[in-house]
Subunit: 367 residues, 3 copies
Amino acid sequence: MSALHEHLGAVPLIDHHVHGCWLQPRDRTTFENALNEANTEPLADFDSGFDTQLGFAVRAHCATALGLARHAEADDYWDRRTAVPEAQLAHHFLAAAGVSDWLVDTGTPGVASLGELSGLAVGGVYEVVRLESIAEEAAARPGDYAAAFDEILADRARTAVGTKSVLAYRGGFVGELSDPAPGEVAEAAARWRDAGGVRLTDRVLLRFGLHRAVRLGKPLQLHVGFGDRDADLQAANPLHLLDFLRGSGPTPVMLLHCYPYEREAGYLAQAFNNVYLDGGLAINYLGARSPAFIERLLEMAPFRKILYSSDGYGPAELHYLGARLWRSGMTLALQRFIDSGEWSVTDARRVVDLIAHENARRVYELS
Amino acid sequence: MSALHEHLGAVPLIDHHVHGCWLQPRDRTTFENALNEANTEPLADFDSGFDTQLGFAVRAHCATALGLARHAEADDYWDRRTAVPEAQLAHHFLAAAGVSDWLVDTGTPGVASLGELSGLAVGGVYEVVRLESIAEEAAARPGDYAAAFDEILADRARTAVGTKSVLAYRGGFVGELSDPAPGEVAEAAARWRDAGGVRLTDRVLLRFGLHRAVRLGKPLQLHVGFGDRDADLQAANPLHLLDFLRGSGPTPVMLLHCYPYEREAGYLAQAFNNVYLDGGLAINYLGARSPAFIERLLEMAPFRKILYSSDGYGPAELHYLGARLWRSGMTLALQRFIDSGEWSVTDARRVVDLIAHENARRVYELS
Amino acid sequence: MSALHEHLGAVPLIDHHVHGCWLQPRDRTTFENALNEANTEPLADFDSGFDTQLGFAVRAHCATALGLARHAEADDYWDRRTAVPEAQLAHHFLAAAGVSDWLVDTGTPGVASLGELSGLAVGGVYEVVRLESIAEEAAARPGDYAAAFDEILADRARTAVGTKSVLAYRGGFVGELSDPAPGEVAEAAARWRDAGGVRLTDRVLLRFGLHRAVRLGKPLQLHVGFGDRDADLQAANPLHLLDFLRGSGPTPVMLLHCYPYEREAGYLAQAFNNVYLDGGLAINYLGARSPAFIERLLEMAPFRKILYSSDGYGPAELHYLGARLWRSGMTLALQRFIDSGEWSVTDARRVVDLIAHENARRVYELS
């Protein structure tokens, strides 16, 4: 085992974008559907979530983590998994990820809360607050919408380390993204409240939220690229953010996932001092193909602008697998750079530390 | 030779999208032009169809199939090729492809018909019927256009196993793709008939044809991405199909070729239960670079949603080379997954069988 | 060392798109900023131009070229570099590039002129004349703008071997690119002169310049893809040039840089007899990842349509590194094709010669 391999196996990670894991068991259909990110309908009868790169990765790496043989059969994996209480499974996988700090996007339902994650005692837990959730809370309050939004944001930002927007799922990045005038915001809020204040898709209010996050100055996470089909993938190409980024000042903007626009995201990370990227979510779904993706993340983006995340959500396998695949993919990628004489081992170790935790610690100002 | 290599060398293929091959000899200029897909003009004087990845692949693999040394000179290859009667050459190459069933798009002229292909006795032959050809026949009949279209489609569908649209060459995927109202169809048909009924580019009638195919329920093949410059490559990005796919119900939609949008196509194959993809045409033209392309086909698409095709058209070399390059590219790709510990050999063999023939057999309901 | 390796180490190059190098020393901040192409602002305090793929490549290859150990520390590299007079550094790096002819885009300030480059005695020096510079000169002259433009262009074309447009930085490729009518040109020129005639962004005049270059018939270079954030990267996708290329006749159109649209550019080089591509600029910035990029340049483009360039500008390291990385990346790429049995060594050597100098010599009609 090379020195680099050893280092990558042990380096502590900051998972700067993740969700809660399940704490209650689900049935097999639900589990297999959770191995498909893009589909919003139940998998077809002829299909199986296990017959994918992610499914094969679960059978390779999560199987061994549960004491099964590598590449265990899907049925055997499922049997073993269901024999362990879900909370114990969660503790097992999250602990095995080697993550020192979890930065948790709390905008998704049905999974462990911040308190429950802390209770698992698998590392520090911090909140990343969803702007669209704040908007919904503000709509539910009486009085001035903007003032309510500001009050809630200020309150949450006392402990939250960053903000997150799912604009990609609410119309995408194409079109105007400037800060709307107060009058426009008030009008849009009134319209939305009249309509019941459910699921924010109003462009004016989405823009308002983004610019409040920019003003706050804490890192602003943006869902980019790969996700489910509710989003138009083309409209989640980060190049559409060019004008927004030109006006975003020093607030760090974190481009998440990025597949298949990771080259475009890397370019933006080079072009703007405040732009960062990661490859969370995509690494899990690419499985055996994730090393090639990790190599593409190491193209145009300066090494001080790349972060680690799993984007794990639901099955605790995903929280572990993100780390497992990142460690092995980075090993393959960097070893290749070393073997071809382009990087030194010292360079490689230093870049590992930057991406694993140093960049995140600096940007999120973690202690 | 590894077990996987051996399996991939022998596995029978279903070529689910292919055209006829030449049965009459052509001159060298025509042959070299057939090694360039994108150009619609004669090759420049300074150029040669042999000085391309496809040309090198012909000299590597088709040369040995004709008893020449690997990497034979272009002149020697041409001499040997022309010494063999074209029909014998066709039989030789098609038999060497190891294809059990050919699903033939009959919408292209100047090549072997279904009957002639059957006569070569190189495997089962099935029709995939071109929607734009049906439209032209319907326009040529008297009376109601829609009724004529339906009657022809029903008649052809008695034996055809699927339909095909070249919408990518008739305006592309950008813009409205919903089912037009009957009145719109009648009006558009009248306009088109008045104009002579040649080469369908009317958007209303193209949309009508697509939705008749969706209603029929047999697999609908769509040209996607790489092709000749008559198409605007950008408008052949399958992501533009998002709304169409949302409304396409259970009818299988087969995304063909896909280069350079294979990642986007794979995403759609994950996002929709009825979406499939292949890498035909592109594999041939990429030659030595096709293994990297085949690896990208194995990213987001579930393994039960990927098919094999050559898209061979014209020189019978292409019908053989598609299979030859797919076999060697898959061997390289899957061996790499196995060597890195991500896949088992059993996994790999099973995925080979799915892509080689099982998925096609299931989707096209072949016996 | 393989025969191919040896050949690639020694083959003389024509650098068909390059700028002048520095002849006067700069401070370290300026140097590190020059290792970031996309950013138009000073690098952030927390960042370093050395912590990038390009920075690592400088420390690997330029360090040894200056007698330091491979992977020298950034501080040591800087110390050594500043100990050598800038003009001597320029001579050293340009000579080490192994370039026989430099085709110099003279449209950028602050670097060695054609005469100064000739004075370095490191190979032949030819001008590529910037169309937007001619436009600015024409605007500054009294009388008819079109006549002035034609006169200046004819004058410069007596010695210049080609033309260059930075349309990508002046609005991009999206939208109308046809030849404007004389009346339109006169009106647009009058408006521009009234506004002071600075930095040309008027679409009519940009189109006019392009079509004058097409009429001239000498190779027309176009900045494509990767560059700084003043350009909208999406609008620099060469697929937007489809209509322009359809009407560009036999005038060679050279697509420069291309990243991340190199697959699209390769397709266009196959689709049009007059379209060529290179990977200059991007190869330097990709460093250890440039071999993968070079492989993608070798996909759809016919081998007689690919050229070499460094796009070096400023630090003379870039003029050397472009050649160094191209030589090693080509060695890796072609050796892989040979090892997999797809190419012969003879094929590989011939393709090297085509890309290194033969294609450029033919297209630019160099002696």
